[in-house]
């Protein structure tokens, strides 16, 4: 039992903005004072900020992509963070080993991180890796947008089969929701092509990205899954692509859900370029922000680049090839049977490079211009850079002064190609806490996360920082430093890190979503048998992950 005393609490979901109050913890949950009696550990949080543990809803922390990244980038694996002892050895510069991922999140006050693209056939590998990440709660989103079953059922307009298949696939992969990466485009890549517009036809199936996205939203909503469709748009990384992004968002307009968005569009920075070539490329962030702010069924995350090393790794195999041709950097291509593909390319973001500076500015524009209950803070780790630099993004969003200082060191191209310099908006601390805690929890549909109300998971971060006295707009250096390492990180009621040092190793849960009771499997049985015998390299009976194989599974039954 814990009694966190006299802290200054910011808890956006419960409308608490910098109020001095006490928080009580029992059995891993936040409880009322009356429930805590006897042997209680008191934490003095006087003059300290108390918030829910951070929630990274979109990062690449497990599965075949990050592992291939580690293999092909030995230079990333030379930074020693922790020598083995009480804790496991942890290494990595931006690409971290599995223990390092958990440890670095914990040190920063983050307590949940979700893998945003799980190749379904690689589900077992993904879960083995998630099981090697200590400290945090986890989940994985399998990718659907190029899976032959999906393309076939969309072509046949057989919604019952599509819906049944989604429930089957999420159960088999022990996944959390429906991720869609460049729908149709990765299948086209199998023949050397791509789907750059929503109306490009997918070779061999006669369907379009427009139809795939619409159908997947429709059936995800019919199943009323915890999380909405999570979309990596078509035409990523191309000048002029912001229009494709807005068009994709409009596909959600006929759907609604009173609990959450019906479409989450991810790492939007990579899909927010105006212009017609890399010579006249500019920012489409303002137009995207205008659209997202005007509707209440879309959320996004930033995909903010951080200057320095990064590794591009996405299920968007054709884009990764384009990036490789553009930069000349190493390239690895992955094929996941009839489900899709992926690619990996090292990248470094340089402040003086006009394109990199433009990407950096667009990410910030999105973070500033989109309402704080619709944009989640992310780097799309490790695509935009390390998650350990989230405090940089937080500080930048809150301080125009810091942005002015940073603008001096970046390519002047951003001045003419983006509106960043003219934005005087400064997000408040309340909003930044919302963008890193309560909003990602709501986007994922997890009521017990991202807040400090009674019944919430006791995932808590305490920072050496008094929001009542520190001026976040002027004292940005303090803000950056303070959010880098928490004074206390509490996971499920246990203190796991203090002042940037690990205290205790704990193993978080792996959430997965079970919607199988909402469908009749009979509808797709014979299709499954046929597709597995014809096209897969493994037998149907060997496909998937059993719950008992996962270290700490948490099954969420969709009612």
């Amino acid at each position: 039992m814990l009694h966190i005393k006299n802290g200054i609490v910011i808890d956006p979901k419960n409308g608490i903005d910098a109020e001095k109050m006490d928080i009580f913890v029992k059995n891993g949950k936040i409880v009322e004072e009356s429930e805590v009696k006897g042997d209680v550990k008191v934490i003095d949080a006087s003059n300290k900020l108390v918030v829910a543990g951070g929630f990274d809803m979109h990062a690449h922390i497990a599965g075949s992509k990050i592992n291939v990244g580690r293999e092909m980038r030995p230079e990333e694996m030379r930074t020693v963070r922790l020598v083995a002892g009480k804790f496991r050895a942890s290494i990595g510069r931006v690409l971290l080993t599995s223990p390092a991922i958990g440890y670095e999140y914990a040190k920063m006050g983050y307590t949940s991180a979700f893998e945003a693209a799980q190749p379904p056939v690689g589900a077992l590998h993904t879960h083995e890796e998630l099981d090697a990440i200590p400290m945090i709660d986890k989940a994985a989103l399998p990718v659907f947008g190029n899976w032959h079953f999906v393309l076939k059922y969309v072509a046949e307009k057989n919604w019952e089969k599509l819906r049944t298949f989604i429930a089957w696939a999420i159960e088999r992969t022990k996944g959390f929701g429906v991720k869609v990466v460049n729908p149709g485009g990765v299948e086209a890549w199998m023949y050397g092509g791509n789907c750059k517009s929503l109306d490009d036809e997918v070779p061999g199936f006669g369907v379009t990205p427009r139809e795939i996205i619409t159908a997947l939203i429709q059936e995800t909503e019919n199943l009323n899954l915890s999380h909405s469709v999570h979309l990596h748009c078509n035409n990523l990384g191309t000048p002029g692509n912001y229009e494709t992004t807005i068009e994709s968002m409009k596909l959600a307009s006929k759907f609604s859900n009173d609990r959450r968005q019906v479409l989450h569009v991810t790492h939007v920075q990579f899909n927010a370029y105006s212009g017609s070539s890399w010579r006249d490329v500019g920012s489409g962030a303002a137009e995207i922000a205008k659209y997202v702010n005007s509707v209440d069924n879309i959320t996004i995350d930033m995909g903010q680049p951080i200057f320095g090393h990064a590794t591009a790794m996405t299920g968007d195999a054709p884009f990764q090839f384009t990036l490789h041709k553009l930069t000349g950097a190493r390239w690895s291509n992955k094929d996941s049977e009839i489900e899709g593909g992926a690619g990996i390319v090292p990248i470094g973001y340089l402040p003086k490079n006009p394109i990199h500076a433009l990407q950096w500015a667009i990410g910030l524009e999105l973070g500033l211009l989109v309402d704080s209950d619709k944009v989640v803070l992310s780097t799309d780790y490790p695509n935009g850079g390390p998650f350990t630099e989230y405090p940089y993004i937080m500080a930048m969003l809150m301080s125009r002064k810091m942005r002015e200082k940073e603008l001096e060191r970046v390519s002047p191209y951003v001045q003419k190609a983006t509106g960043l310099a003219a934005i005087d908006r400064e997000k408040t601390l309340f909003e930044v806490i919302q963008m890193t805690r309560s909003l990602p929890a709501r986007v994922m549909g997890l009521d017990s996360k991202g807040h400090l109300g009674f019944g919430a998971d006791a995932d808590i971060a305490i920072y050496n920082f008094d929001p009542l006295t520190v001026d976040v707009t002027n004292d940005f250096e303090t803000v950056y430093k303070v959010f880098k390492t928490s004074a206390y990180t509490i996971k499920g009621g246990e203190i796991i890190a203090m002042n940037g040092e690990l205290v205790k190793e704990v193993w978080g849960r792996t959430f997965w979503v079970d919607a199988t009771s909402k469908v009749e499997m009979e509808a797709i049985e014979s299709d499954l048998d046929e597709m597995f015998s014809k096209y897969y390299s493994l037998e149907r009976q060997n496909y998937g992950v059993e719950e008992s194989w996962i270290k700490k599974p948490e099954r969420l039954v969709m009612g």
């Binding site: 092909m72 980038r73 030995p74 230079e75 990333e76 030379r78 083995a84």
Partner: protein, 234 residues
């Protein structure tokens, strides 16, 4: 001058990032200087007999140092003399000063060095002056001279400076080389794959990869990498 002698035959690797600057430290600092014996931390005095002669910035390594890695890494001035053999990564990243190895050297000698001089009287193994795996550029300055033979991968991704091998070398000389000079007085295997710039001069026999074309004074390539590197007969 600081003199180090191994106290016993090392069974496993010692990692000791020692530079001539250590000779200027106090006796206590030298004795307690942290190194690794395998995965365990050790004091310099646990593994070596330490003595001094004069007070100049010079190291004399007396005995078999073939299991000792990272000697002279990142050094910027002063001198190191190795009386016997030296282990991996000797002189890696160095920017100045001089290392003389009287015996043989193992892998990665002068890797990514920027300046200074390395002389080896015996043979060296692989990766002389190379880039570490995954990095873009190998040695960019200074000179490495080997009186004996060398193994494979000499000057991979080299961006400047000079490597001179008096004997023979193996395959993959100057792979992805960008600038600088490699001189080989003996024979060698494949030369210049994906070479972009710089010069390789060879006295003995060698094999060119197919991406080179004959020019007036020798060969130019690798055309597959759009390169303008030169391979010349000495």
């Amino acid at each position: 001058m600081l003199i180090l002698k191994p106290k016993f035959d090392f069974e496993i690797s010692v990692e000791a990032e020692i530079t001539p600057a250590l000779a200027l430290a106090t006796d206590e600092e030298i004795s307690n200087y942290q190194v690794y014996y395998g995965k365990d931390k050790a004091k310099l005095s646990d593994l070596f007999e330490i003595s001094r002669e004069g007070d100049d910035a010079k190291l004399l390594l007396d005995g078999d140092f073939s299991k000792v890695k990272w000697i002279g890494a990142r050094m910027d001035e002063g001198e190191i003399v190795v009386k016997g053999d030296i282990g991996d990564h000797c002189g890696a990243y160095m920017t100045g000063g001089k290392i003389v190895v009287e015996g043989n050297a193992l892998d990665w000698i002068g890797a990514e060095m920027k300046g200074g001089e390395i002389e080896v009287n015996g043979n060296v193994r692989n990766y002389v002056g190379c880039a570490y795996w995954g990095n873009m550029t190998g040695m960019t300055g200074g000179k490495i001279t080997v009186k004996g033979n060398a193994g494979n991968y000499i000057g991979e991704k080299m961006g400047g400076g000079e490597i001179e091998i008096m004997g023979d070398t193996g395959d993959f000389v100057g792979t992805e080389m960008k600038d600088g000079t490699i001189v080989i007085h003996g024979n060698c295997g494949f030369v210049g794959g994906d070479m972009k710039g710089g010069t390789i001069k060879i006295k003995g026999n060698f094999e060119l990869v197919p991406g080179f074309r004959k020019v007036e004074d020798g060969f130019e390539g690798d055309v597959n990498a759009g390169g303008k590197g030169k391979v010349l007969q000495l």
